[in-house]
Symmetry: C2
Subunit: 218 residues, 2 copies
DNA sequence: TCGAAGCTTAAACGATCGTATAAAGTATTC
DNA sequence: GAATACTTTATACGATCGTTTAAGCTTCGA
C-alpha cells in the first residue's frame, strides 16, 4: 500500500517502482516481439535485470503482468487520441488530427500495434473489456461528427474498417511490404508520406460517402 | 518414397496420406488459432486422432510441420490469385477479379490470414523465402497493369499498402470491429458488402492516382 | 538501536514441452 | 507363409515453463 499520494517516494517505493517499471517495459517488448506464450517470465526478468520471482510479487502472475502491459499501452493510445480529438477545430480538422495522432503514436511506439494485433489474434478475452474501456470513449467522442451519414451507416462502417486497416498496415506488414517495395516502410520519411496518403484517403472516402448520400437520397 | 506417380496408393501410402493430411489440417487450425509457440504437438496430434510421435516420423519436427502448413496455405492463395489474374479481360476487370478472389479465399479459409499475420508478427525467417516464392510471381504478373504510373510509384505503393490493409482488416480485426459496430463482420452478407466497398475503393484510388499524374505531369 | 515491514534473492517443485527410442502392428513381396 | 518394408504405438528423456517457498537484505518507525 502507498503511504500517501505525494510524489516523493520513500526508499522502498523508489526501488519497487523501478522494478515494476523495468518489468513492464521488458514485458511489453517481449510480448510484442514473440507473443504471450513464447515470452518467458525468466527472459522478461532477465531483460529487466531482476529476479523472476518479482513478477509474482509485484503483479501476481504472468497473466496479470500481461494485462497490465496491454492496459497501459491501450490507455496511452486512447489518451492521445482523445486529446487530439478534443482540441478545437472544424470536424474535418479534428478527424484528420486524430488519424495523424494515431499514426504518430504507432510510429513512436512500435510495440503497441503488435501487442494489439496479437491480443486480437489470440482472441484474448480481455479484449472485450479493453475495447469497451478504451475504444468506447473514443467512439462516443467521434459520434458528433457522424451526423448526416446515418442513412449510410453501412458505408461508413466499411470506410472505417478500411481506414483502420490502412492505418496499421505499414506497421504490421512491414517485412512483407519492405521486401515487395525494396525499401524500409517505417523510416520517418516513409511515415510522413504515409500520413499524407492517409489524409487524402480520408477526404476521398468522405467525399465518396457524401456523393452516395446525394445521389441516392430519397 | 513414392513407388510411382499413379493415383492408386497402396495400403501403406493410403494410411500415411491420411495421417499426414489429418496432421496438416489440425496443425493449420492450431497454429492459426493460438500461434506456433502455444500450439503443442500433443494437442495437434490429439485433434488429428494420431500419435504425437508421427509428427517427427512424417515431418521431422514441429518446425517442419509448421513450414509445410504455411507453405501450403500460401501456395493455395497464390494459385487462386494467379488463376484469377490470368483469365481474360480488361486490366481493370482482372485487377478487380484478383482482389475479389483474395477476399473470397480469406472468407473461405479463415485460418489463412491469421497464419500469415502471425508469421509476420513473429518475424518468421521463412517469410522472406515465402514472399519471394509466392508473392513474387503475383507481383510480376501484376506489373503489366502498372504502366503509366511509374512517375507516381510512391503513390502507388501507398495505395497498395492501404488496399492490402483494407482487404484483410475484417478478418484480423473481427472481434474489435464486431464489438464496435455491434454486428458480426464475417457473415456472408457482410463479406459481400465488403467486396463491393473494396471494389469502389480500388476505382476511387485508381482515379485519384491518375488525376495526380495529369495534374502534376511535367 | 532494534523490531517490523517491504523488497529481493536463490533454489526447487510439479507440469508440460519437443523429441527420441524401441517394440508392436500392418501391408507388401518373394 | 516367412521375410521385409513401412507405419504406428507406448514410454521415457532432458529441457524449460510458471510458480512457490524460505531465507536474506534494505529501509522505516519507535
Amino acid at each position: 500500500m502507498k503511504t500517501s499520494e505525494n510524489d516523493v517516494p520513500n526508499g522502498h517505493e523508489e526501488r519497487s517502482d523501478r522494478t515494476v517499471q523495468g518489468l513492464c517495459e521488458a514485458a511489453r517488448t517481449a510480448f510484442a516481439r514473440v507473443g504471450y506464450a513464447a515470452a518467458s517470465v525468466r527472459d522478461i526478468a532477465g531483460s529487466a535485470g531482476v529476479n523472476p520471482a518479482l513478477v509474482r510479487y509485484h503483479f501476481g502472475s504472468k497473466e496479470a503482468l500481461y494485462r497490465r502491459v496491454l492496459d497501459d499501452a491501450m490507455g496511452q493510445l486512447r489518451d492521445r487520441l482523445i486529446a487530439a480529438l478534443e482540441r478545437p477545430g472544424t470536424p474535418r480538422q479534428r478527424i484528420h488530427r486524430v488519424i495523424a495522432s494515431y499514426l504518430d503514436h504507432l510510429a513512436a511506439n512500435p510495440d503497441t500495434p503488435r501487442l494489439i494485433q496479437r491480443a486480437l489474434l489470440d482472441h484474448d478475452p480481455n479484449i472485450r473489456q479493453i475495447v469497451g474501456t478504451h475504444h468506447g470513449p473514443l467512439v462516443r467522442a467521434l459520434e458528433p461528427f457522424l451526423e448526416g451519414v446515418d442513412a449510410h451507416r453501412a458505408d461508413l462502417e466499411e470506410a472505417v474498417t478500411s481506414l483502420f486497416g490502412a492505418l496499421v498496415a505499414p506497421f504490421l506488414y512491414a517485412p512483407l511490404l519492405g521486401q515487395i517495395f525494396g525499401r524500409d516502410v517505417l523510416t520517418p520519411e516513409a511515415i510522413e508520406r504515409r500520413r499524407e496518403h492517409i489524409a487524402s484517403l480520408v477526404d476521398l472516402t468522405h467525399a465518396h460517402i457524401l456523393s452516395l448520400r446525394h445521389s441516392a437520397a430519397s
